[in-house]
Every structure is written in structure tokens, then in C-alpha cells.
């Protein structure tokens, strides 16, 4: 086999005439494609870095301009979380008319048309479930709706300032309430 091996190992055939030109063309293409890709990467990296900086800068600027939005978003999330795991004694007050305190309050509120709360005397009062958000806003434990919290606090202060607590069952209370409101309007003006 050695003779066959030697014969074929040294076998040489003149290369085709146009091979050299093709090889040179191939080398030039490789070199130019390498240099063009180098050029692209040279420009691409700074542009990409600048874009990233601009995008992050814009996000930071927008967040800084609207801190309330950011706080509201965070607070809404925490409110959702808190309401889902609501476990304070007020849960019974805010429980739906189906009186199932084990259910999350939000679910109860969404399902119920009315909710039952305790009035100042501890007696149950049925109110529309739409007022649930308002009640929650009256509790400073949930600073979710800053505007509503402020309003409710203002109403609370006004109600505490009143000498009487009117009830709808007593006609004289209604008359007192009308009088108190008229006085307040006059004093405000």
C-alpha cells in the first residue's frame, strides 16, 4: 500500500486558471465585510448607549414630574393587597349583606348591592356598596385616594364640630341639621 500512498500523496494537478482571481475576490470580500462590520460596531455601540441613556433619562424625568402618579400606583397596589387580606375588626363592619366575613372585602363589595356598616350607636346601617370606597378612604390606614382622604377628613372635622348628631328618624334632628347647615353657610360667606 505504501507505493500507492506515495503515488497519490504527491499527486499534483495544475489548478484551474481562474482560481487565483476567485481566491483574491474571496479574500477581499472577507476583508471588506470584516471592516464594514467593524465600522458598524464602532458606530452602533455609542448610538445604542446614547439611546439607552435617553430612554432611562426620559423615564426618570417623567416619574419625577408626576410623583403623585407613582405614589398613587404604588398605593393602589398596596391597597389592593391590603384589602385582599383585610383582617382588622372593621372587616365585619364592611362585610357584604351576605354576612360572610371570611370572603375578601373587595369580593364582598363587588358582589353585594348593599353593605352593612355600624353607625355611631353600634347599630347596623345598610348603605350602597358604591360608598365602600368612601368608607375605606375615611380610614387613614389606606392612603390610596389622597383626594378623597382629604375630603373625608374635612367632612369628619365638620361633623365633629357640630353640637348634635342628627338622625333621619327624628324630625327635630332634621330641623336642627338644616339650621346648623344654614348657620355654617352664613358663616362661610
Amino acid at each position: 500500500m505504501d507505493k500507492l500512498k506515495d503515488k497519490l500523496l504527491n499527486y499534483a494537478v495544475e489548478a484551474p486558471d481562474d482560481s487565483w482571481d476567485t481566491i483574491m475576490h474571496g479574500i477581499n470580500n472577507t476583508t471588506s465585510s470584516n471592516s464594514s462590520s467593524r465600522k458598524i460596531s464602532r458606530y452602533f455601540l455609542p448610538i445604542a448607549a446614547a439611546l439607552v441613556i435617553i430612554i432611562f433619562g426620559a423615564i426618570f424625568f417623567i416619574n419625577k414630574r408626576n410623583p403623585a402618579m407613582q405614589i398613587a400606583k404604588t398605593n393602589t397596589n398596596s391597597l389592593e393587597k391590603n384589602m385582599a387580606t383585610f383582617s382588622s375588626p372593621d372587616k365585619n363592619i364592611l362585610a357584604g349583606s351576605n354576612d360572610n366575613p371570611s370572603k375578601p372585602i373587595r369580593e364582598n363589595i363587588n358582589n353585594a348591592k348593599y353593605i352593612t356598616i355600624a353607625n355611631v350607636d353600634g347599630n347596623p346601617v345598610k348603605i350602597s356598596s358604591k360608598a365602600a370606597s368612601l368608607i375605606v378612604s375615611s380610614d387613614n390606614q389606606y392612603p390610596g385616594r389622597t383626594v378623597w382622604n382629604a375630603k373625608v377628613n374635612k367632612w369628619k372635622a365638620r361633623m365633629l364640630a357640630n353640637p348634635v348628631t342628627p338622625t333621619t328618624s327624628n324630625f327635630l334632628d332634621i330641623a336642627d341639621l338644616t339650621e346648623a347647615l344654614t348657620d355654617r353657610n352664613n358663616s362661610d360667606n
Binding site: M1, L4, K7, L8, N10, E14, A15, M24, I27
Partner: protein, 189 residues
């Protein structure tokens, strides 16, 4: 084709010139080795067009990777490996390499094949080219280049047993071709 000759230059000079991307030295190196490497390509490929493609592809690889040559072995050996690998890649892309797992029971003596050396290289090549690409590759790698079955297995992504069986089958087919070859009958006669 105009040939640039400079017999005073050795391989190291040529390599240094090519690493500097000097077209003159690249042409000298091409002129020195293109015929031999074309012979290698012809042994592994199906026809002249394929051999030309592999030759061009191989030289582009050589010029691109010449800086990696460490002068630890012979330069011609390094070149030859590149062209053998390029030929194999070329056929792997076309999925010509068949994987045969069954072993041939027939034991072919090397002397049965060695009679081929009496023929001219071109005729030997014509006979070897009658083998399927898989058999031809294994035969070339083992018998001509001197690769072990382990090396062939790693190179072709097959197991050693497959390499051995492919070689045995290649020899078996060659023996049949030799037996029926009119040229060899005349040589023997």
C-alpha cells in the same frame, strides 16, 4: 496564467509575506502549493468543479488563518489538513457521507489493492472515484493520509467501528473494480 517564481524564498518567508497581506507573497505561496492541494481536493471530491470550489475555499482559509501557523510541524502538512478538512466540510454540507454500521465479513488483503500503484495517478483516481463518497473519504484518510480510525471517527463524527467497516467495504469494492478493470488486466497480462 502568469507564474511568479522566486526560488530563493522558503516557506517561512512566504508565510511572513502572506501574514503581512502582501499579494505578491500570497501569489507565490499559491503557485508553490496549488497543484498539490488541487490533487488533494480531486481525491476527495466528486468532480473537477467541486475540487475547484474546495481549492478556492481552502486557500481563502489558509490566507485568513496563516498567522495561526506555529511552525511546529511541516507547513505542507498544515496546508494539507486544511484542504482535507475543507473537502470533508464540503461533503458534509451536501450530506454525502453515509453512515454504515454493519461490518463486512470479507477480509481484503492490502496487496489486492496495491496493484493500483502500477497505474498512472489519473487512472488510480478514476478507479477510486467510483467509490461512494463515504467509502472514498475513509479510504483516502486512512490509506493515503495515514489517519487512524479514531482520528477519522472524530473528524467525520462517526464511531471507529463505522470507519473500519467503511474502509473494509471500500477495499472490497476496489478489489471488484480491479478484477473487472481491463486496464489492470492488461498491466498484469
Amino acid at each position: 496564467m502568469s507564474q511568479l517564481r522566486n526560488d530563493n524564498l522558503n516557506d517561512n518567508d512566504l508565510i511572513e509575506g502572506c501574514v503581512r497581506n502582501d499579494r505578491h507573497f500570497q501569489r507565490l505561496l499559491y503557485d508553490k502549493y496549488s497543484a498539490k492541494m488541487h490533487g488533494v481536493c480531486l481525491r476527495y471530491t466528486e468532480d473537477g468543479d467541486d475540487a475547484k470550489d474546495v481549492l478556492q475555499e481552502g486557500f481563502i482559509k489558509v490566507f485568513k488563518n496563516l498567522s495561526k501557523f506555529r511552525s511546529e510541524g511541516s507547513f505542507e502538512g498544515w496546508l494539507r489538513r486544511i484542504f482535507v478538512n475543507t473537502s470533508i466540510e464540503h461533503y458534509r454540507k451536501r450530506k454525502y457521507l453515509t453512515r454504515v454500521t454493519n461490518h463486512s465479513d470479507e477480509q481484503i488483503e492490502d496487496e489486492d489493492i496495491n496493484v493500483l500503484h502500477r497505474l498512472a495517478e489519473r487512472d488510480i483516481l478514476a478507479i477510486i472515484n467510483q467509490l461512494s463518497p463515504g467509502y472514498k473519504t475513509v479510504f483516502n484518510l486512512h490509506v493515503i493520509e495515514g489517519y487512524s480510525h479514531k482520528e477519522i471517527a472524530e473528524l467525520l463524527g462517526i464511531n471507529e467501528g463505522t470507519s473500519k467497516s467503511q474502509l473494509a467495504r471500500a477495499k472490497s469494492v476496489l478489489k471488484k473494480i480491479i478484477e473487472t478493470s481491463q486496464v489492470l488486466k492488461k498491466e498484469n497480462g
